[in-house]
């Protein structure tokens, strides 16, 4: 079942590129740098010792007051080897960008849109990065810790959805 060696295996596969590894409550975790992200994720997906063919979840956590402020959290699962891995990338507030993995897993497309919508973290090379749960005119990113829970939003102009759609044509 749980492969306790997994974080170590990732660390030896990518020497010097894994910042931190730990296992907590049976969840194996590795922390990587965003510059290596696409390369590492591609190997994790394609290498038969990992075979993470499914990106199960992608989300972020806002640690306001800590530096770097954001953590982007990926949960990977391998259908063939039945193991899971959590990968984290820490992102500072003043440069909140992460390379997109939507070219590796199709599920990343919507998940990254949601993280952009909720946290304001940009995904570079994303094919279609726009809000998904909120509307385009929404001010701010609601799941940031400095977004007040009772904040009101301005009224927006009515828009003709045919001539002026939200999405780019």
């Amino acid at each position: 079942m749980a492969d306790t060696e997994l974080p170590g295996k990732v660390a030896t596969t990518f020497p010097g590129k894994v910042v931190e590894t730990y296992s907590l409550h049976g969840n194996d975790t590795v922390v990587i740098r965003r510059d290596d992200a696409v390369e590492i994720f591609r190997t994790l997906r394609d290498d038969p010792t990992f075979a993470f063919n499914m990106l199960v979840d992608l989300t972020a956590v806002d640690f306001l007051g800590r530096e770097p402020r954001f953590e982007v959290v990926y949960h990977l699962y391998s259908l063939t080897l039945n193991h899971r891995l959590r990968v984290k990338i820490r992102v500072p507030e003043d440069d909140a960008t992460v390379p997109s993995v939507s070219s590796l897993w199709k599920s990343a497309n919507w998940l990254e849109r949601e993280v952009w919508d909720m946290f304001g973290i940009r995904f570079t090379d994303h094919p279609d990065l726009r809000r998904i749960l909120m509307y385009e005119e929404f001010h701010g990113h609601p799941l940031r810790k400095d977004y007040p829970v009772n904040k009101r939003q301005p009224l927006v102009e009515e828009r003709d959805p045919i001539t002026n759609p939200w999405y780019k044509k």
Binding site: M1, L24, H25, G26, N27, N53, M54, L55, V56, D57, T59, V61, D62, V73, H75, L79, N82, R84, R86, W105, K106, S107, N109, W110, M118, R131, I132, L133, M134, Y135, P142, L143, Y147, V149, P161, I162, P165, W166, Y167, K169
Partner: protein
């Protein structure tokens, strides 16, 4: 904009036609759920379908950060409201994993029984509605009748049909009522009868099979890449079920099969769900047979509310109650991801605690979100009328998809 169909898909469809843009929704009578499809059509044929979600976004994850751990439980009812008990159980399991808490066996069995009953209600809702939308309205009524017998069971246990709020961190609210096994037996007997009728009405019904078979096909490769789980993935032939792959509760102590399909079309999704109802009933019957006596909550005053006689009879009990209600259960700092098999696929809770009585971050992995992301892919090349059946088989629940 007069782009011809040929320019868009690179093949000759109808040389005289122009591409039409059609907005379907967000409040369309044939889609149960507030959702918008931006369609590009060549006549009746779908060239591209862009799905817009978010109409039911209520800020679930933000709300959870404002409340204590146990206050989150009623919010989870309102995620997938067709199977609220599975959400309750998943959240409780995740919080207990952060606490490294082992709940009593009886509690775990009851959670398993109620999860499976909830899974049946969810599947009956999905199949009944899908059949209704495909024109078989009587099947819809039969299935709702079957669902109602299960809601009677849920009401007898939790006191509510939908907003059950049944679990707490460290246990459940009520034990099963007396004579519950008998009630389940009667209910399952009538459900089996109804399912047999529905099987006769649908499974070889020419109209229904024509509407479902070979429609909305998603390849196995795409399904995996889109992160689709549950009946949608199993319909493509992948036997992935969290209950089997990484068993939680006591799913390793009961016998059940994981039905799979071969084509990945709507008909396979239908039959997979239909078969899963029968498997869930098997699990409930076995679990009721194994159900041990004992407590239903952990015996830990830091987690579980004291008995009422202590609250009103002693100052310690009163203080304990007050601290737990106002400050909440203190969960040590950490993070955890706990997946369970929801009715629509892998339902995961990713919780981050900072050691206070409130969650620092609650993230739900909503299974139907991934199905909706793949919907555009599933519909490409099919007809407008196929949107209804395909969307019905994804079983999008707005509360869960949009949170």
């Amino acid at each position: 904009m007069a782009a011809t169909a040929r320019q868009l898909v690179g093949e000759v469809l109808d040389p005289t036609s122009e591409v039409m843009t059609l907005q379907m929704g967000p409040s369309h009578p044939a889609t149960h759920g507030t959702i918008k499809f931006n369609l590009r059509l060549d006549g009746e044929k779908i060239l591209a379908c862009e799905v817009e979600i978010g109409y039911l976004h209520r800020g679930f994850e933000k709300m959870c950060e404002q409340r204590t751990w146990n206050h989150v439980v009623p919010y989870t009812d309102r995620l997938n409201y067709a199977s609220p008990l599975i959400n309750n159980v998943a959240f409780a399991l995740a919080a207990e994993k952060l606490l490294e808490l082992e709940v009593p066996e009886r509690c775990q069995y009851i959670r398993m029984i109620m999860s499976e009953i909830s899974r049946i209600t969810d599947h009956l809702t999905c199949l009944g509605m899908a059949a209704t939308e495909a024109g078989a309205i009587s099947v819809g009524f039969y299935m709702l009748e079957a669902r109602e017998t299960l809601y009677d069971l849920v009401t007898a246990v939790t006191g509510a049909r939908l907003t059950v709020s049944y679990t707490r961190v460290g246990g459940i609210t009520y034990d099963l009522p007396q004579g519950f096994a008998g009630m389940v037996k009667d209910a399952f007997q009538s459900i089996r009868q109804i399912l047999a009728d529905c099987d006769k009405l649908l499974s070889r019904n020419r109209i229904f099979v024509d509407r479902m078979s070979g429609v909305g096909v998603l390849s196995q490769e795409d399904a995996i890449s889109y992160g689709v789980t549950g009946p949608l993935l199993r319909a493509t032939g992948v036997p992935y079920d969290v209950r089997k792959a990484q068993p939680y509760l006591f799913y390793d102590r009961v016998e059940f099969d994981v039905p799979t399909g071969t084509q990945g079309d709507n008909y396979d999704r239908f039959t997979v769900r239909f078969e899963e109802i029968k498997q869930s009933m098997r699990i409930v019957e076995q679990a009721l047979g194994q159900l041990p006596p004992g407590p239903i909550c952990v015996d830990d005053p830091r987690v579980v509310l004291p008995a009422k006689r202590d609250v009103y009879g002693s100052i310690e009990g009163l203080m304990n109650h007050f601290k737990l209600v106002i400050e909440g259960v203190k969960i040590p700092p950490g993070e955890v991801y706990v997946p369970v098999e929801g009715a629509n696929g892998e339902l995961g809770f990713y919780l981050v605690s900072d050691g206070s009585g409130r969650p620092y971050r609650v993230r739900v992995r909503p299974p139907c979100f991934f199905g909706m992301a793949a919907l555009g892919e599933m519909l490409k090349g099919y007809l407008v009328s196929d949107i209804i059946t395909t969307f019905g088989m994804i079983n999008m629940i707005g509360g869960e998809c949009d949170r």
